[in-house]
């Protein structure tokens, strides 16, 4: 034992290799390898007679993806949904985070933090299911709205938007809260001393400083929305890009499903690259 320890101490590079070997083997081989196998399938052909994948390079799957209007509609709808959900979460989260960070007493702040964290760990499916029961006919939503002469959002895009915004809200509140808390009070005092009114300080000092935190939160709201196929399936009849991947896989047509799967991946990677420029990664 001791000799191994001494040997390791003298050879830090070997230590490093030993440390990295297992995590890299897992992530690079198991995970990146799996992704490679999936995306390789996007270039293979499905034999329409046998239903088997034939290893024969082709761009036909991407051709189907680009030429078929259904996929364009799904991709745009999903992208629009991700943007709408992100904006909704930001708008709902900001006042809560601001109240927690700057106005609430320390005791209240602790309580609110727990109140926001709790639903984050309450099961995802339970929350979707709760909305499903509330939105169905004879549910709570109809019961509240009917006396007002209104009716629920039905089972279209609005229902999906509502449930996604509900689900991802805590992911937006927490980074914004942390971002607001990091702003030193002295900066705000300096701004006031220099004659800025509260509104001006908010726009010119607080907002620019907290923006990376908002972007950090948006990484969650955005990428979680892009890949989710379960919420659309449970609360609506409307399909998103994730449903297209799932359904195509069930056909089964793995090559086409793999080609469709490149759409959310490309969008997420572009979004991450854009987000990195704002310094959002330090706010994660």
């Amino acid at each position: 034992m001791r000799r191994i320890a001494v040997f390791l101490h003298r050879h830090p590079r070997l230590q490093l290799r030993l440390l990295l070997a297992a995590p890299l083997a897992w992530l690079a081989l198991a995970y990146l390898g799996s992704l490679a196998i999936l995306f390789a399938n996007a270039f293979w052909r499905l034999d329409s007679f046998t239903g088997k994948v034939v290893i024969e390079p082709t761009l036909a799957n991407f051709g189907t993806l680009l030429s078929n209007d259904v996929y364009r509609t799904l991709a745009l709808r999903t992208l629009g949904m991700a943007v709408a959900v992100t904006l909704t979460c930001a708008i709902l989260a900001f006042p809560v985070a601001y109240y927690m960070a700057r106005i609430a007493s320390p005791r209240m702040r602790g309580l609110l933090l727990v109140a926001i964290l709790m639903p984050l760990w309450a099961s995802y499916l339970v929350k979707v299911y709760a909305w499903r029961t509330m939105l169905l006919g004879n549910g709570v939503v109809d019961w509240v709205l009917q006396p007002l002469g209104l009716h629920g959002p039905g089972n279209g895009e609005i229902a999906i938007w509502l449930v996604f915004s509900y689900l991802w809200l805590p992911y937006m509140v927490l980074p914004i809260y942390a971002g607001l808390e990091r702003i030193p009070g002295s900066l705000l005092e300096a701004s006031a001393d220099l004659g800025a009114r509260a509104g001006f300080t908010f726009r010119r000092v607080i907002l620019p400083l907290v923006l990376p935190a908002v972007v950090a939160g948006s990484i969650f709201t955005f990428s979680l929305t892009l890949g989710d196929y379960i919420t659309p399936q449970l609360v609506s009849n409307t399909k998103m890009i994730g449903n297209a991947i799932y359904d195509t896989l069930g056909v089964p047509n793995l090559p086409l499903a793999a080609a469709i799967a490149t759409v959310p991946v490309v969008i997420v990677v572009l979004y991450l690259l854009a987000a990195r420029r704002t310094g959002a990664f330090e706010s994660l």
Binding site: A5, A261, P264
Partner: protein, 266 residues
């Protein structure tokens, strides 16, 4: 800077409204669990405890909880080991490709779950691996690594190296330093990371849906299939209530261990 009374009042009101929005669905489901009727309509006419007994006796529910606990324990153990090793390498060594390691660790959680799920299931099929609990654990461990990694990395950044150096100067070897200096200083980070990883695994449905074999249900998979059977809904309500109650555990521990577990990454 002092916010005006109007602004403060408005913010307080907005916070209250958002919290109401957040808790309303959870309250509704808990109330439905006490609904005597098999039909879910609002308002609830009469209340009963009957479905709790029914759920507790349900063999498939018990089996699902058992499977979920096994899967989450396995995934958490793997994630803690791999995440700590990666965090240690990144924090304590300078090497080419350090950024890449961070990127690799984050990737499984940043990419949409459906992509991770399809990729893993395709690979298992290609390699001829049978689907079951082990494949679920592999999937979960892959996206749980980032949580252990983040927690351990944050802790390592805050503990100074001088303790380790002092330990070495006093004649301790690598193992002793590891045993008496590192482990104690990392303990709470490991507990917090493990807890969050466990909770994440316990709740995961998208990747699980692709990596579970036929007949192996975790709690979320059980809920997903039961939701679509109107007959099973009263039992689903009870299971949902139990899951809501269980979510207090990670929050409680995270609060006790301290705020640094912030990691909203999941």
């Amino acid at each position: 800077m002092e916010e005006s009374r109007l602004v403060r009042g408005g913010l307080r009101l907005a916070t209250a409204v958002v919290l109401l929005f957040v808790y309303l669905p959870l309250v509704v489901i808990v109330m439905y669990a006490f609904n005597e009727s098999r039909v879910q309509s609002w308002p609830i006419v009469s209340y009963s405890l009957g479905w709790f007994a029914r759920a507790a006796g349900d063999q498939s529910v018990r089996q699902a909880f058992f499977n979920s606990i096994l899967a989450a324990s396995g995934a958490t153990a793997i994630a803690l080991v791999l995440g700590s090793m990666a965090a240690f390498a990144v924090q304590r060594f300078e090497f080419f490709g350090r950024e890449t390691v961070t990127f690799l660790v984050i990737l499984p959680i940043a990419l949409p779950g459906v992509v991770t799920g399809v990729a893993l299931s395709t690979t298992f099929k290609t390699l001829g691996i049978d689907f079951g609990l082990p494949t679920i654990i592999v999937g979960h461990a892959t996206f749980c690594v980032v949580i252990a990694y983040n927690n351990v990395l944050a802790r390592l950044r805050r503990t100074s190296r001088s303790l380790e150096e002092a330990s070495a100067d006093l004649g301790a070897d690598t193992w002793q330093t590891f045993r008496y200096i590192f482990l104690p200083s990392l303990r709470t980070a490991l507990i917090a990371g493990g807890l969050l990883a466990f909770a994440l695994s316990f709740d995961e449905v998208i990747v699980t849906n692709f990596t579970a074999g036929p007949g192996v249900d975790t709690v979320p998979l059980w809920v997903l299939s039961a939701i679509q059977r109107p007959n099973a809904l009263p039992v689903v309500n009870v299971v949902a209530t139990a899951l809501i109650a269980l979510s207090v555990i990670p929050v409680y521990f995270a609060q006790r261990i301290g705020g640094e577990t912030a990691g909203v990454t999941r």
